[in-house]
């Protein structure tokens, strides 16, 4: 079902998503929003992996497998991150990333 869809367009969409994630990471202060930005970034990478696999190397499955592993890692990351956020919230009563800066200097 990919006839007529140029690969570059898909890549551009994923690049957009990736940099939207980075923008969010920089701009937002809420930790959960930052976490969501990271999910966007990972997702963009996943799209790239799948697209390269499908368009360039349809004789193999590497891209797909790596995408699967990234999903697994994203799940692990999300669970740990949320545990951390909950812990921080309990201590500081805030999940504003600007208040979690005790490890400066």
């Amino acid at each position: 079902m990919i006839e007529g869809i140029p690969m570059t367009h898909v890549l551009i969409v994923s690049a957009f998503m990736f940099f939207a994630g980075i923008c969010g990471f920089i701009i937002r202060r809420n930790m959960i929003t930052i976490l969501m930005s990271i999910e966007l970034i990972l997702n963009a990478v996943n799209i790239n992996l799948v697209v390269f696999n499908k368009y360039l190397y349809p004789d193999q499955l590497q891209g797909q497998f790596f995408a699967l592993f990234v999903v697994g890692i994203a799940a692990a990351e999300a669970s740990v991150a949320i545990a951390l956020i909950i812990n921080i919230y309990r201590r500081l009563n805030s999940i504003n990333v600007e208040q979690v800066n005790e490890m400066k200097y």
Binding site: I32, Y57, D59, A83
Partner: protein, 168 residues
């Protein structure tokens, strides 16, 4: 215009719009919802390239698991009605500079690069092929990374429980 092409551009539009909304929304629960939309649209894209298993994983794990986890944590830590303050101008500008310049750079790179397809015949992607390769130990076998990921997930699970546990 072929239907699949139209379908692709609709999905692309959804991804672009909701990505932007995710990072700009000043209500956190809505942001989570927009993220869900992006992830679901991505899953639709996977269906388009005929990777059903991948799409299934995307839906179940990402859209189902992670977003639900995020929403739970939002409910634990934030007030639903709470609306964020607008980001500082300085940070906004910096973020936009990084984002826009990076995006521009990537786009130029993508458009300039001559991608070269393989000449080998495509293989059929079905559950059997995926299963054999994922648990295979020979050529194209992914048993070892698979096991590593499983250990990582276990560790993350224990770690998350320990970290989030209420203090003594």
């Amino acid at each position: 215009m072929a239907l699949n092409v139209l379908m692709f551009y609709i999905l692309s539009a959804v991804i672009v719009i909701f990505s932007v909304l995710t990072i700009t929304s000043r209500r956190i629960l809505r942001a989570a919802f927009y993220l869900l939309c992006v992830l679901v649209a991505t899953a639709g894209f996977y269906f388009m390239v005929d990777y059903q298993f991948m799409a299934g994983v995307q839906l179940v794990l990402y859209a189902g698991g992670i977003v639900v986890l995020i929403i739970f944590s939002i409910l634990l830590t934030s007030h639903i009605s709470h609306k964020f303050a607008k980001p500082e101008a300085m940070r906004l500008v910096m973020g936009l500079i990084v984002g826009v310049s990076g995006f521009a750079l990537s786009t130029i790179a993508i458009l300039q690069f001559a991608f070269k397809e393989t000449e080998n015949a495509a293989i059929k992607v079905d559950m059997q092929a995926i299963g054999t390769q994922l648990l295979g130990t020979g050529k194209n076998g992914y048993a070892l990374p698979f096991e590593v990921i499983s250990v990582l997930l276990l560790a993350a699970m224990i770690g998350a429980i320990v970290v989030a546990k209420k203090g003594k």
